[in-house]
Subunit: 358 residues, 2 copies
């Protein structure tokens, strides 16, 4: 059972909730656009499904809806931004804009962020660079759920990496992926369907192979991209670690197992080594390397060549990173966003709390 | 059957061969150090085992041993370097040095390279940044062997990524990995032992699962990190693509299936869209983000915490990226480098060709 709600209706509701939480008009608009970009692009786990989570963090005093977001250190091509415990949905676009501004002058801009919160989907921030003819990069650390290779302790988050690269006539290349084999959202889909998970996604809390999609609720562990040592999990572990270090150790945020949890009922870790969650953003002007038109022609050739690579049996085409999300966005912009019944109930409860009709 | 040869002896021999190929004294020394760093660090597939390959490329006129390596475009934080068809072993350190120089002034430096050749192990170039209190990044495209998700065509190389991050009292964090589930070198080890490969490493040329370690010789395909769609191969495909684009489309090198092949007997691709192989390097000054001492203290805490994560059953400790290679380097610096009999024979043949005793 699900309802389908138009983007405009969902926008009106979500924006009103952020306003009621105390966000300024511009911050509420930014937060709403970033949050709902996940729903539009089909990454349902990171969109309005998380609104209740943000509200609870705010109620627990862990989100500041009138933050003084500011640059605390900078060089010609770098900056550290302190998010003042603001919504990551607002802090991230601020920081990405700083990276873009640096790139305009120095060729590239790199911004590490501390004292932030969850920022929605990484891809939407990386994509901010595209209209400036820049490649955009975005990553973030997150609450620890992932066991490093040879370990049975939750040490890293799903720590996504997004890279958006402009093209010419072709749509841009947009990669956006968790550095785990499967993200938590994929498990949630299986939970709703009451189906098992493929082996290689999770371990139980003792470190045994498991196909239980509910394993994380029982103290289990998410696996790094590669699943096991034989299939390269040490590479996924390294990638997740690099995201953690660039986002949090470079900036002074809280890292590894000390990353602040998203569920507000989970107590904050003791002896946190830094402030809040961390992010890392990059912007590279294409013409800092070669003329933009020339680069775009070659990106078009790259994309067309890969799209026309010989398909495997049972498949009709090869996808370019970003294709599925773009198709979904086109569809949902017109047809609306499907919301499971349980989520509609949750949103109505938020609406009642704030006096906003859903 | 294998011989063990001291690093000094292998250095003398390799350096002499590069000199005989026409390299300058400094270029021969650089190329030798870079090439043999692979043998020291236990990545045997990328070290002196490739010397014959480099010699053959030189004989085929595909390597220029007196190149005019130069910056062809730059901004405060970026540059494009043209390697003039030089040895990647020499072009890469030049370009990494440019990145480091940019970082000293602009905070970070990013260099894309065209018209180069194979550069040995990525890690050794990234590590150049460490002594400057910088994080180093190195990547390269390579001859196409890898099938994108849903494809059965060789479109990407093993396209490695290396990231070296300085620490304080702890040894640095050094990740260096192919963006495939397993690199070609791992298959070569199994071939020598006449053992099968784990499923998920290769496909046969029709796209069927295979455990044949010799599959690539029969037109088979390497798989991106993640192995199959269910286990995230679209993420490995995206990573390999990003390396290809940053290294070759940004710089004007030849990309994707048009990347020049390492074996000199393989004809060059037709209609190459750029010049030679491409690399991409980055250097980020730690104190462009926060004071270096503060950062290093936190990196030490990060490393110690991860090293002490609860180990999985059957394992006694969790490794930090770079640990195995550093231990191997310590051992082999003292005990020498083991060379399989077939390689000793190959090196003697090179020695005879150039009048250099092995």
């Amino acid at each position: 059972m699900q309802d389908t709600v138009s983007y405009q209706e969902l926008y009106r509701f979500t924006n009103s909730v952020f306003l009621k939480m105390g966000c300024s008009t511009t911050d509420a608009a930014t937060a709403t656009q970033v949050l709902l970009s996940a729903d539009l692009r089909g990454i349902d786990s990171h969109g309005v499904a998380r609104l209740t989570g943000y509200v609870r963090l705010w109620e627990a005093g862990r989100i500041n809806t009138s933050p003084d977001i500011r640059i605390v250190h900078e060089t010609p091509s770098t900056a550290v931004v302190d998010g003042d415990a603001g919504l990551g949905l607002v802090v991230a676009p601020y920081a990405m804009q700083v990276a873009i501004g640096k790139a305009k002058i120095a060729g590239t801009g790199w911004v590490s962020v501390r004292n932030s919160n969850h920022f929605g989907i990484a891809g939407i921030h990386a994509m901010m660079a595209l209209k400036h003819d820049m490649t955009g990069i975005a990553m973030t650390n997150a609450s620890a759920l992932v066991a490093p290779t040879f370990s049975v302790e939750r040490m890293l988050g799903t720590n996504p990496i997004a890279v958006a690269i402009p093209a010419g006539d072709q749509p841009p290349f947009i990669a956006d992926f968790a550095t785990t084999t499967a993200a938590n959202g994929k498990l949630e889909i299986l939970q709703r369907k009451n189906e098992p998970a493929p082996y290689g996604w999770v371990l139980d809390k003792e470190g045994k192979d498991s196909d239980d999609a509910n394993e994380l609720k029982k103290g289990g562990l998410l696996l790094p991209l590669g699943s096991d040592r034989e299939h390269g999990s040490h590479k996924g572990y390294a990638l997740g670690s690099i995201v953690d270090i660039f986002s949090a150790v470079l900036s002074g945020a809280s890292y590894g197992p000390w990353a602040p949890p998203f569920p507000a009922y989970v107590p904050m870790p003791e002896d946190m080594p830094g402030k809040g969650l961390g992010h890392f953003f990059g912007a590279m002007r294409v013409d800092a390397f070669r003329p933009a038109e020339e680069f775009k022609q070659h990106m078009d050739q790259w994309i067309v060549r890969f799209r026309n690579a010989k398909p495997a049996p049972g498949h009709d085409k090869v996808l370019i990173p970003g294709d599925p999300e773009r198709e979904m966005e086109t569809l949902r912009s017109v047809e609306g966003i499907p919301l499971p019944e349980s989520l509609v109930k949750e949103l109505k409860e938020i609406g009642d709390k704030f006096g906003v009709k859903f």
